[in-house]
Point group: C2
Chain length 230, copies 2
């Protein structure tokens, strides 16, 4: 019989985006050694529950947030002395939310959940700052070779929204013309025909939406989403 005293947890690094700022979701712990400290949402996995389901459950319970993108990031577990009672190994997940799910639902016991601008993330418990850093790097990187930016925007968006998203996440200027040309050349955007204006002046812009079916179809044909900047 295996003698092993280790517990498995999952944690989520959830990114939101609004108005040029990237946010990360954190919760304030109620009990234990780290009571009142901020940590990433997450918790121990149940015996009969797939990992990803565990993440979704914890997110729901602790924050009321539903994510639009979720993928495994990395498993952390070398901090052997993290807890006195047993070692904890934590599978970290990388997640994105839509603006419409950006708000914290008030009807859960989520009063301890909060969005922090990525620049202002406080010192978190456990190895969570390390996780945030890694996830942030993944976000920046992935943005350039997978169309995950759309998961951070409303379903219908202006080209300028997409452009600003790229600018602020990658922290660099982008040539509007080249960017538009490139993205449109992929043929994965759908013109909705609608136009709206942002703010109270300026020319109204056209709304686009991401055509996931088209994208999946292109993938089969060896299509590679990729965008680089000077």
């Amino acid at each position: 019989m295996i003698n092993q005293n280790i517990k498995i947890a999952v944690d989520a690094i959830v990114f939101g985006y609004h108005n040029g700022i990237v946010y990360v979701l954190a919760v304030q712990q109620k009990f234990g050694k780290l009571a009142n400290h901020w940590v990433l949402p997450g918790g121990f996995i149940r015996d009969d529950e797939p990992l990803i389901q565990g993440v979704e459950r914890e997110l729901q319970e602790e924050t009321g947030v539903t994510v639009s993108y979720l993928e495994q990031l990395k498993t952390f577990g070398d901090d052997v002395a993290r807890d006195e009672r047993f070692r904890v190994i934590s599978v970290a997940y990388f997640a994105l939310v839509n603006p419409k799910n950006f708000v914290l639902k008030a009807d859960t016991d989520a009063k301890n959940a909060k969005w922090f601008a990525i620049k202002d993330v406080p010192k978190l418990g456990y190895e969570h700052n390390e996780m945030v850093q890694l996830a942030h790097a993944r976000l920046k990187n992935k943005l350039t070779y997978q169309p995950i930016g759309f998961d951070l925007l409303d379903q219908e968006f202006l080209f300028s929204d997409l452009e600003n998203l790229y600018c602020s996440i990658l922290e660099q200027d982008i040539d509007r013309r080249n960017f538009r040309k490139k993205i449109l050349s992929f043929g994965i955007l759908e013109e909705t025909g609608k136009v709206v204006k942002k703010g109270s002046s300026g020319r109204p812009g056209e709304l686009f939406s991401f055509d996931k079916e088209k994208y999946d179809q292109l993938l089969k044909d060896n299509f590679q989403f990729e965008i680089k900047f000077a």
Copy 2:
């Protein structure tokens, strides 16, 4: 107190390369439900042992193989009913070996370890075939944007060795001239000055070695190793 009956294991997908063929290391299980079945090397982690150390230990114990590259791949654990006694969650590691470590050391109890050509990997226990597939994809992919090919070659190698490695792993033809031009342009190879001839005829070729220091230095300067083929 958390009630959780899950055990943590690590498994390694170890790739070796020789003569145009990619090999994967597997071991034959001695006990348990899967006695005599082939599985990936690995096993349960000890309470006080970092994950990566666990992988190295298990590899050493089961196969006597020392790897030259090791990175976490993915954590598998959704097969809730894999074992009747408890659920097992396994952290899979991706590894590469040098030709000089390709041989299985006879002095361990490694008589059950074996290299399988990637094309001939048998049905493995647990989710191990899935792991191999994922690792294989990672290998192919990573070869194009990180200089990991050198970890599969001898320290000193002919250009043709490197070229054949790329050909066989990526399963496509490569233009020798363009390949050489590209790789040399990175400036991460060192000319040893030595020449050797391969086989019993033909012009002798120059031996190169990978200059890791140079590469690390270039990385700081925003260098990007990247190689693509038509």
